[in-house]
Symmetry: C2
Subunit: 768 residues, 2 copies
């Protein structure tokens, strides 16, 4: 839709007016004008088909009538009497006449703010009847568009005959906007109109409402896109509000989709059925259509631009069905197949993982060929930084170590799912068990690194979870092959569909809309990616961390050797890692000790750029540049140095500026290990980061180094998993209770039974 | 602020215009007009002080100039050339003149949509100089307000002298809105103005900008409230963007708060300092002031009404400081004190809980007296339903069982915090430990039941968590006393402030804003409360469940006795409970069996209203009313009955319509228990609800009945705790690594060390 040049925007009464009241919904109108003007200024040709003249006129006439009465009297009452006036006194055609000029003036004033010219075009059904008039209309509109003017089209309600009773008008009285209602039902064979000869599928359309007027105009003007805004979300597969009602994102007329039309829009004419009919008619005429809600305050400000940008809004009517299934269908498939995966035996899941590991070696050539295609594209576009290119590239060695990793995961997979965590004899013959089960459907979003795909798939398979994968566009070819191999491995136990790859077209935001279908999101990539996903993922938990502001605190009693060694390793081993040191805290006493000079020398030798904390700077005659913030994650050969008075102050500093990732103390102030009085123990106990280390490099904060077998990620959250997360992070639990007709009433005061609550050994199974 | 009758709304240039461009921000303007009109129609007296004339005029003049050039040529290019015109060609005073009428016409058109009259009032500094003019202005405005007209006030820029260089005008050129800039700096002693004699504290104010004009007018008109909207959020304690910058919610001039002013607003005149000066001036003159951001698209639609409703928006300038600390201060205090609580010994925490239990008995009279006050209020207002009254009321018996429960929690508290979950020897002398720690700061929101308070406090104390409590207004007196007793108990170990009670004035939404300070929210109350909190709590995890749609499935091989007994207990024992049965699923074969008739008889006897599922209805000649949805939580003596063909279909039904809370199978189809082929085992394994029961009532899903000691809540989430949650649900973990100078470089390919990853017994401590 980004290519759409000529776009017709149809504004239903519900959008333009304030529902039951008769005034205009100015806020909505203004933000619609803003979007239309923006698109026009981008070089598109925008056409507006609008309602609202009657509403505007009614408001105005009521005002005038009231003013012509005793003005003072009315105004002095301090209360607004206008609302109390009966609607019936105002006739619709008069209202339309009175409102038309005001409505247009308002549009003009609004568009003027965006340097956009508008023109008013009033049409009646006769303009479509008469071939010459129709041609005149056509060329007028063409000329306006050529002149970069936005035509604003409305029916000339003032001159058309009064409304006739019609089944389509049920529930609509003269009080509501009569736009189009006053037009008689006209049926015109499509063949009469030029440019419509090919659209014989749907030959008849009546101009009874704005929907059909807009559809007709859009086809007549060969518009690329028709956006029909009203107060309905779009097309549902069942009446909205029923148990299974689901909004249809894309509707293909060829599909035998079953649709049930909901009730009519509250304001204005044109129920859902009429809207769909008009949409199909336009579609057959060559114009794509989107039906969407223009009245939701949360999206009104960007509904039109979102549609033009191709975001999922409302229902899109398209002639061509894309090759693959929709992401909802994929998620559904993954969940169902995931349940089969979960009910396999652990060694069957391990077998799948081992098979995948073997495929990585067997099909090496195929993978590397696909990877070369991605690398070639990356080189030729020159858009990827060298570090990214390195991540994107696969080699036989990389594939080998990947396979080794997978074999390890296969090993660890044993005894993850279905493990009994707790057993309790609640009462005689009433036994409770808590067991581990998969979380459900995981969504893993990863960037450049294609080796992420088999790794993450293996983690999901090991824990019986269904998986949706969304990889970066730059690795599309490699990912496709790796995903094929994963599905091939899964198919040995008939669970091929448990791992799905989502098209790169899908926006992260759209995926996050599936909050009822996805149980956990795991981002694998830059901290920016994580932050973006945390922001977008409303309602779906995200496993991970966006920041790693790790501290190393050198205590007054630190060993020089250990301090230098750990300082170097923490900062320089891999400066971009999340567990690299960002701030070096030093005890004040160190400043005068040889350790300080040695530390600075080491950092200089390693070319680490030092930023001074305010306190540190105040101690120096010539200070390095001051740190802009004590909360910076440099992710490079840079770090902040700050001075503290004591271990307690170091803890306070870290609580205030840290990110609860990993923090280290270096001290020898220990007579006996684990004694709570010692400086080291105090630090380890008081600090509540996910990882707290004594005399060890911050770089140890890692699932593999911790011996967890596999790392799902590192979490700094305070619920669920925390720190480096192994396979346990992908599991949840359920409680199984086995009785023989037990009721809680049996246990009431006057009941016959008593709770035992005996803890049973986890291995023990007791049938009595 | 709900009482404020006369309100001045000041719209800064940044609000009215589109930033750097010169057009008006129509969307914002429209939604502001909507809010002002709504408040006016509520009977308030609204006054607008607006910028925007220059911006409007500039847009218009550029348009005119361009049009007067070769119109066709310009329009035919298809590209908008207006943007490229230099700003400097347009003179500000001319722009003001050209824009004034358009701006007013736009305001008028907009207000007309809400049946609201407006009047234009242009002022110059002379109007304030001259006592007679000032009086005229005053009485004009009075008369307009009396006539229910909204005065729209602006400076008469067209007639004032050109701007003089002034330090306050730095960065402002003629291009931006010169509103007020063209006024010379005027200093008027406040004493000169009538009604200001008492405000001698701040005697001098210059009308250099809209902020001071609005402040002056507000005081002159004795307005109750001045809302100053611009593009700044409000007043910060440090320059926005720095590490410690925090928005000040309420500013008391008496306070020695340190403020640092940020940079000036991007558009228009009047930096933060000028805004604050004007605000303080108005405050001393008797008008309350709120400085807030009117340009944030997320709140623009309701920023004014929110302020009037007293919600926390921007910075509120108030003369009187409320008695208690702010909720942020409370949270901070709770967190700090919570850290001390966490570092106590487990038996010290148990001691606190036991002491609280004793206080409940010792101070019985005091508690019951306070409770009687609440009950009296409830009776006299008659607003509480009988069920709610029952929950609100305390009795000696209730207090006794509460105390018993607390003693149990004190017992369970041992060995919760600091428990070692896992120990690994990573390498020689490098030992890893995973231990349990408190989550941090909990926020518990509860309704009517005051007995919730000591219970929840005990749970938090037992797990070393800090606690914020927000109780219902109806139990205010009881809660106050119970909270006092809790703090008294806490003070025996010097951690009095670890449990804080939040004022009932605080909105749940405002509390949810504290996402960086609160780690977990636990709602205790109706499912509506839970849903509301889940919606509001963006970014903070919520422990709990909003729905309990529990199923009992009667298999073809069910025992009649067990089915009837469990069916009755599940539905009738306590129909409002979340673990009560809502849907009874019956195997098709049962329909023809005596069990069916007995089941229906039982439900009739117990006066349970039956709703028929579609399948069930189709089997009956005369069916009860059809269920509106298969996803209904009746919470009363009502349930849905539906038919399924098999156990597998029952599982499918529950996955589709259930809420993953608790689901039950009743069957005798078991030769040997735990055999995976059996119907019961299949059901228990396949269904992934938090609790799955065989031949036991759904009502057993409860922390106490499960033997967890205490129940924090029941969770249906798929991460963190699931099902009935005991104290473990309030704990998280951290990893402690103890080394002796280990670096990861030592373990690299060419390094000297090797990972061991030996699992150590949890009890074992090894110093080598």
């Amino acid at each position: 839709m980004r290519q759409a040049k000529r776009i017709v925007v149809k504004l239903g009464s519900a959008v333009v007016t304030r529902g039951d009241e008769c005034g205009l919904a100015l806020g909505r109108l203004a933000s619609i004008v803003e979007q239309v003007a923006m698109l026009q200024n981008q070089g598109r040709e925008m056409v507006i088909v609008t309602s609202g003249a009657v509403a505007f006129g009614k408001q105005r006439l009521r005002h005038e009538i009231l003013l012509s009465q005793s003005v003072r009297q009315a105004l002095h009452s301090g209360h607004n009497q206008l609302k109390d006036m009966s609607l019936s006194v105002l006739e619709a055609r008069a209202c339309a006449a009175a409102g038309q000029s005001g409505l247009m003036a308002l549009y003009e004033a609004m568009f003027t703010q965006y340097s956009t010219c508008t023109a008013q075009v009033l049409v009646t059904n006769l303009d479509f009847h008469d071939d010459e008039k129709r041609q005149n209309l056509h060329s007028t509109l063409q000329e306006l568009l050529r002149m970069n003017i936005v035509p604003i089209i409305n029916t000339n309600d003032a001159v058309v005959p009064p409304p006739e009773p019609d089944s389509d008008l049920q529930g609509v009285n003269v009080g509501t906007d009569s736009m189009g209602a006053t037009l008689e039902v006209v049926r015109v064979a499509a063949g009469v109109l030029k440019g419509l000869a090919e659209s014989l599928v749907c030959t008849v359309i009546s101009i009874k409402d704005n929907d059909s007027l807009a559809a007709r105009l859009a086809v007549e003007m060969k518009a690329d896109l028709l956006i029909a805004l009203s107060d309905v979300e779009g097309l549902y597969n069942s009446p909205p509000g029923t148990d299974d009602a689901k909004l249809i994102d894309i509707f293909y007329p060829g599909d035998q989709q079953s649709i049930t039309y909901g009730t009519k829009s509250r304001v204005g004419i044109g129920g859902m059925e009429a809207k769909v009919k008009a949409a199909l008619w336009a579609l057959h005429g060559g114009t794509s259509v989107v039906i969407a809600n223009g009245t939701n305050p949360k999206v009104t400000g960007h509904v039109i631009t979102d549609i033009v940008e191709g975001k999922k809004v409302g229902t899109f009517f398209s002639e061509t069905k894309p090759a693959g299934p929709s992401v909802e269908e994929q998620t559904e498939k993954a969940r169902n197949c995931g349940r089969s995966l979960a009910s396999l035996q652990p060694d069957q899941r391990s077998e799948i993982i081992r098979h995948l590991a073997e495929l990585l070696t067997e099909r090496k050539e195929m993978i590397l060929t696909a990877n070369k295609m991605d690398m070639d594209v990356a080189y030729s576009t020159g858009r990827l930084a060298p570090a990214m290119l390195k991540r994107l590239s696969l080699s036989p060695a990389k594939l080998h170590s990947l396979a080794v990793g997978l074999h390890q995961i296969a090993e660890t997979a044993q005894g993850t799912v279905g493990r009994v965590l707790r057993r309790t004899r609640v009462a005689h013959n009433l036994e409770l068990e808590q067991i581990t089960i998969p979380i459900g459907v995981l969504l893993v979003i990863f960037e450049a690194r294609p080796d992420c795909l088999p790794q993450v798939s293996a983690l999901a398979i090991a824990t019986g979870n269904a998986l949706l994968l969304k990889g970066g566009k730059e690795a599309a070819n490699t990912n496709r092959v790796l995903h094929q191999l994963t599905q091939e491995a899964l198919s040995i136990h008939g669970v091929r569909e448990a791992v799905q790859m989502v098209s790169t077209r899908e926006e992260v935001e759209d995926l996050c809309r599936l909050d009822k279908m996805i149980d956990l999101i795991i981002p694998r990539g830059s901290s920016q990616l994580v932050r973006d996903i945390q922001r977008a993922a409303k309602g779906i938990p995200v496993l991970g961390h966006s920041e790693g502001i790790c501290h190393v605190y050198i205590d007054a009693d630190a060993s020089v050797d250990k301090a230098i060694k750990i300082g170097r390793d923490s900062k320089c081993d891999y400066p971009a890692a999340c567990n690299a040191m960002e701030t070096l805290l030093i005890h004040r006493d160190i400043l005068r000790a040889p350790l300080f000079d040695q530390m600075v020398d080491m950092l200089r030798t390693e070319r680490v750029k030092i930023h001074a904390g305010p306190r540190f700077a105040s101690y120096l005659t010539f200070s390095p540049s001051e740190a802009k913030s004590l909360r910076t994650e440099y992710g490079d050969l840079e770090c902040c140095v700050e001075v503290v008075d004591s271990m307690e102050e170091a803890v306070e500093h870290i609580h205030k500026y840290g990110s609860s990732h990993t923090d280290v103390i270096i001290t020898e102030n220990v007579i006996e290990i684990f004694l709570p009085e010692e400086t080291a123990e105090q630090f380890l106990q008081k600090l509540d980061s996910a990882c707290v280390f004594w005399n060890a490099s911050s770089r140890f904060a890692d699932g593999y180094r911790f011996g967890l077998g596999a790392e799902v990620g590192i979490s700094t959250a305070r619920i669920h998993a925390r720190g480096p997360v192994g396979l346990e992070g992908l599991l949840t639990t359920k409680w199984i209770l086995r009785g023989e007709g037990h009721t809680v009433a049996d246990f009431s005061e006057h009941g016959t039974r008593k709770y035992l609550h005996e803890s049973l050994a986890v291995g023990q199974r007791d049938n009595n």
